[in-house]
Assembly symmetry: C2
Homo-oligomer: 403 residues x 2
């Protein structure tokens, strides 16, 4: 197996077309309606959805449709600028109509269209905009439309997130494409904000869901911007089989790795473009007593406002890393703990190495950082979570969001 990067995002695999248009939900005239369509009637679909109990209407509807169709889907319709969350029965009816509008144009059953929304919570969708917009987006569908689609799902994102690869196997090659959005309210538990993967491999339901779950575990589910799993998070995957490569158990690692690489690039893009973020930080916890403990400690450090502000200020304040690990709930043994910032060990065997602080401060001036904390529990378990710094700009963006 060999993997190469290719261009095209969600339209990189054969048989996928996409579009992104402005339909009138965003007041600033930016693209706010995104469409991804597979040309193969038997396209398989899988989805992971937010664990937030305040699920948005499109999340409820997409989950219901996936179950009803047995995991078949032809299209994903997404609007930005309005989350259609906490909108009561009207919100559910609107999400259903959104799917129906696309289904009618495609000549497919409504439950083969998945819907997603992102934006402000508690506001109803402008259905008049969608009633004219969805047909317009259908007319704009193109094999090169991936990047338009990726732009149309953005809210506070500073840049669009797209990725695509070609996976070469002994029996031929297939492609995996993807796009994602997300900048605030980011700490996925099952999935984050909106992420879409497409592939022209032929994959049955079971393997598709497994590949999506496995790939997300180390990508979309391993990032955080502000520790806030949203009401609308979902990651969807479509597989249309048009490459002719059929994924079986033997080829599963190739599909997983294709999904993982595309999802990794998209997920890191979300963190790099986190609200107000200036630095991408990989937090790795080692020496954890269990796998769960590793994740618990890594998440606690990655969400610590004191760690995130220290990183922002370029302060190698390893004490905050120790304090965050110590209060995380994971097993922690101070005497065995160890903190490493970049290549520099700043604390080990109960002893600080303050003479290395100025080198560490220099390292922290970079925009892509690695921090490792051994929690001293003597276990062989580790976990990596990607986070960003916490800045005054994050406060500004979120204090002014609707005003």
């Amino acid at each position: 197996m060999r993997i190469e990067r290719v261009g095209g995002g969600v339209t990189a695999p054969q048989g996928f077309r996409a579009a992104g248009v402005h339909c009138g939900i965003k007041k600033n005239g930016k693209p706010d309606l995104s469409l991804v369509v597979s040309d193969a009637p038997s396209t398989q679909a899988a989805g992971l959805f937010t664990t937030n109990l305040a699920k948005a209407a499109p999340v409820v509807i997409s989950q219901r449709y996936l179950a009803a169709s047995g995991g078949a889907a032809r299209a994903i319709v997404t609007n930005s600028g309005c989350a259609n969350a906490c909108t009561g029965p009207q919100g559910m009816a609107d999400a259903e109509e959104m799917a129906a509008l696309a289904a009618r144009a495609l000549g497919s059953p409504a439950e083969q269209v998945l819907v997603a929304s992102t934006g402000v919570i508690g506001v109803n969708l402008r259905m008049d905009a969608l009633r004219t917009g969805i047909p317009s987006a259908m007319a704009a569908l193109s094999e090169n439309g991936g990047s338009n689609a990726a732009q149309a799902i953005m809210t506070t994102d500073p840049f669009p997130k797209e990725a695509s690869v070609e996976v070469f196997t002994d029996v031929g090659s297939f492609r995996v494409g993807g796009m994602a959005k997300g900048s605030g309210m980011i700490e996925p538990r099952m999935a984050t904000m909106l992420g879409y993967l497409t592939t022209d491999a032929a994959v049955d339901q079971g393997l598709l869901h497994r590949a999506l779950t496995d790939a997300c575990r180390f990508t979309f589910n391993a990032i955080t911007v502000d520790g806030e799993p949203s009401t609308n998070d979902c990651v969807l995957a479509l597989a249309n089989g048009m490459s002719g490569v059929v994924i079986d158990e033997g080829l599963y690692p190739a599909l997983f790795e294709g999904f993982r690489q595309v999802a990794h690039e998209l997920a890191l893009g979300i963190v790099r473009g986190g609200e107000g973020a200036t630095k991408l930080v990989a937090i790795t916890v080692t020496g954890a007593a269990s796998d769960a403990d590793g994740w618990t400690a890594a998440r606690a450090i990655a969400n610590s406002p004191l760690v995130k502000t220290a990183v922002h200020g370029g302060d190698p304040n390893w004490g905050r890393l120790v304090a965050a690990a110590g209060r995380s709930g994971a097993k922690f043994v101070l005497d065995g703990a160890r903190v490493q910032i970049g290549p520099l060990v700043l604390f080990e065997n109960g002893r600080p190495f303050d003479e290395r602080a100025s080198d560490a401060a220099e390292y922290l001036k970079g925009s892509s950082l690695e921090i490792t904390v051994d929690v001293g529990a003597g276990g062989g378990h580790s976990a990596t979570v990607w986070t960003c710094d916490l800045t005054a700009e994050y406060v500004k963006i979120n204090a002014e969001y609707r005003t």
Copy 2:
């Protein structure tokens, strides 16, 4: 029972003297050494300590001494400017010497002196400063020294926190005094940062520990600034009996209420003086399925950076309150949920009341706010957590802390 406010802080009760001096740990010349002494040799003591597994040396030593003495203590010595945390065997020896220096001057066993430290993690104490400073502080002890002592325990606190009351019962009156510090790294689980309560009631170990635990549950343990339980948190109580009022089961409510009122005022002072804070916010969760669920949801909302920035910006963004409750882990039923900002209901029965948003924005301009979220689980359980807004100033303080 009747309770009246009195002045004096920790020295309000009879038989307590205190001092606050500069000994040389802080470079800026501000007070950095605080001493609280009881004149009664048989003073009872109780303590609640951080649940952080990276416990600072003075926390370990104070816990050990309380156990060794059977809950007797004559004095509390506190330094600010250095947390003596993550300092290895040297840190433990320094904490022991700190207690011994005060014990020698008092003529008491070392284990009857409790020690506490607050400030930067990972730096050793300057023992030369303490060797001359502790005798100086002893010489400065005064019955009016409460406010000096409260100033000497401050770090990033914008103002000192003191409170004291007199509790009138059928068998006479007694007083409760207190002081506290804390501004960042605040989310107590067992206790927060440093809090001290003194009383001239006579209380045995069992009742003293119970009153401290019960009072802290709704005060020090119900506040958060940034969701960061620190390495050094502790709340200590001393009872010297000099009022002649003996607390038994019948008088327990009087002691509890005295402790609760003093601790409430101190705890709210910590939040109001939280790093960068401009607003104090009481988050009340109602309709929770269990007591634990009420606390879980209230803490999640109170620590949500999106809620805290919305409050800062005066944006009545109730969707963020719903989202935080929905992802908290507590049982949450969207259709039964209800959000109230001040007197204004903004979401109920799945319906937003956006016409009230401008009134809610007006209410949010205040500096002391109340927000209530019913999680719709139909239980009769509720909880209140006090928090503050998240501001650019918080980021500034913590990005620049050591540089």
